[in-house]
Symmetry: C2
Subunit: 337 residues, 2 copies
């Protein structure tokens, strides 16, 4: 299976490491033999139809910040759309950063790949938050497989769980803690009484939050994941514009203390029932959604089995790379039929 | 799909109700049309190759305690093995009570059904705790499908989750709270300082515990579920005899209070890593396994995605009936191929 990687950040590099270290196991257990024939970052693109040297690519990125170390394979300044058009492959893996105004450059990458007949694995939430129904339609039209497990829950298989394991039950609603940074901040506020400002500074120091934490604390990251989950699991056709979004920035220490005195805690909850919204909500301390630190948790209200909650890490390079691997295994199965 | 029900207790009656109320939906969404051609309880058996009148069967069981109300279809005193041999059907659903000395009568029911070429759905833990590797072998040999989703987690799809959603990750260990009664008792002891005796009495009053709570509080129920999960998910070949089992009966209020003072709580944990065991263990209050009341929770230690925990109700008639439905959907798919 020939694969082109769009973006060469934490997730794509972790994936490259998995391909190197777990290759024989993936081949043996799942018949999966990914060959990376193209890598594109914001500076340029490298191709080799015989497979790029991944160790060299990782070393180049680490030392030079670009793929220039791949010598003859490297094309300085070539962009993703151009690279997708130039490269023969079966699967495009899109891992560029989430951008929520126009979903770019991910949206153009995904569209171009589908139009070229490539299967797509996407860990970038932007294209899905903005245009998921259209992209699913485009995938159908071009008869390609479109997978995006890594967009929700990182390595925790939230989407597959809901789709594959809850058959025969009716899902009446979804509530989730889908952003680790916000949850870390609220957990520190509740457990230790630290201020939001200090908790955020710690989150940044520990690498949980970006220098610009807007997506996390303003609820946008949660809203993206909610849109993707709802569309996938409940067959809705939402975009991020359809979600009422309120982040955690106005939650005060007094709010947290008041909740605590009533056996509750405040969590940033993305929910979809009659409508889709993101807002700080009170959760009982004894409820399975009351998870600590950077954990994510998602609760499916099913009938008649009641609430089923899945808890795991919601992010991380190696974790999200496992979701890319799962998606490739699924694509390989679709091929094999 | 012709189905014979072995046992007509809470789970089988809930299943019959689902077939009546959800029939059109199951047919439309999954092509599943279960026709109940036989029902056997401890008093006798009823057959009708055109499908039994389920409303009448439920009414008879409720009013008479037997299936005698099914008139011409009823055979007083006929046992399960005999009934399986007499009835033409595709699937046998075994729901008789768990018995852990010899696994009977469930074990004979399952074996007889497989030898007759029937697919088997089993919600009874006894046959699996005692002879799971042999039964899986027997199913292969007879080319029948053997499903038992309802034995672990009730309606919470624990087994399917591990098998279907954690592909590409290595599962390094499993730890679970698999018995709602024990967890209810330990939760009450920790939260309110009530004695084990009083908490157990309340559990019995509320219908969470049987009059004889031995299976629950002595850890046997947990051990059964651990064996089934380990064999299914990790391809081990355990029976309940291979598990070190210690229940909660020696946990004191002082133990619980001491754990609490250290930010921990005591839970009855079934675990499998280098060995399989059931024992009261300390769990951090902030860990996702710290679930309250009758909830069950199971934590898979995966590499590299870290701990993934699934939380839900672990028992209940309507809940476990949904797992029977899921298993029948899977069997129907295997047919359809």
């Amino acid at each position: 299976m020939r694969v082109t990687l769009l973006g060469f950040g934490v997730v794509a590099r972790s994936f490259a490491e998995v391909v190197m270290s777990e290759g024989p196991k993936l081949a043996k257990e799942y018949g999966l033999k990914p060959k990376i024939v193209g890598i594109v970052d914001s500076h340029g693109a490298a191709f080799d139809k015989n497979g790029l040297d991944l160790a060299k690519a990782l070393e180049s990125k680490s030392k030079l910040g670009t793929l220039a170390g791949l010598d003859g394979s490297y094309h300085e300044g070539m962009d993703g759309v151009h690279a997708i058009r130039e490269t023969e492959c079966e699967v495009v893996v899109e891992t560029t950063p989430t951008e929520l105004k126009r979903g770019e450059p991910g949206l153009s990458h995904v569209k171009t790949a589908m139009i070229k007949g490539r299967h797509v694995v996407c860990t970038n939430k932007g294209p899905l938050a903005i245009a998921m129904p259209a992209l699913i339609e485009l995938a159908h039209h071009n008869e390609v497989v479109f997978k995006f497990s890594g967009t929700v829950g990182g390595g925790t298989p939230v989407l597959d769980f809901a789709k594959r394991c809850l058959e025969g039950s009716e899902i009446r609603g979804i509530r989730g803690i889908l952003n680790g940074t916000s949850n870390y901040i609220l957990t520190r506020m509740a457990a230790e009484g630290v201020s939001m400002k200090d908790a955020l500074a710690d989150a940044q120091r520990l690498g949980y939050a970006e220098a610009d934490p807007t997506y996390d604390v303003e609820g946008l990251d949660t809203a993206c994941k909610l849109v993707i989950t709802s569309n996938y699991v409940l067959d809705s056709a939402l975009s991020i514009k359809d979600v009422d979004i309120r982040g955690i920035t106005k939650v005060t220490g007094a709010d947290v203390a008041d909740a605590s005195s009533k056996g509750e805690t405040i969590k940033l909850i993305g929910s979809v029932g009659s409508k889709a919204k993101v807002s700080p909500e009170r959760v009982k301390l004894t409820h399975p959604l009351n998870v600590s630190g950077t954990f994510n948790a998602i609760c499916f209200d099913t009938h008649p089995s009641g609430e089923v909650t899945l808890v795991g890490k919601g992010a991380g390079g190696p974790e999200t790379a496992t979701s890319v691997v799962r998606d490739l295994i699924d694509i390989r199965r679709a091929f094999a039929r």
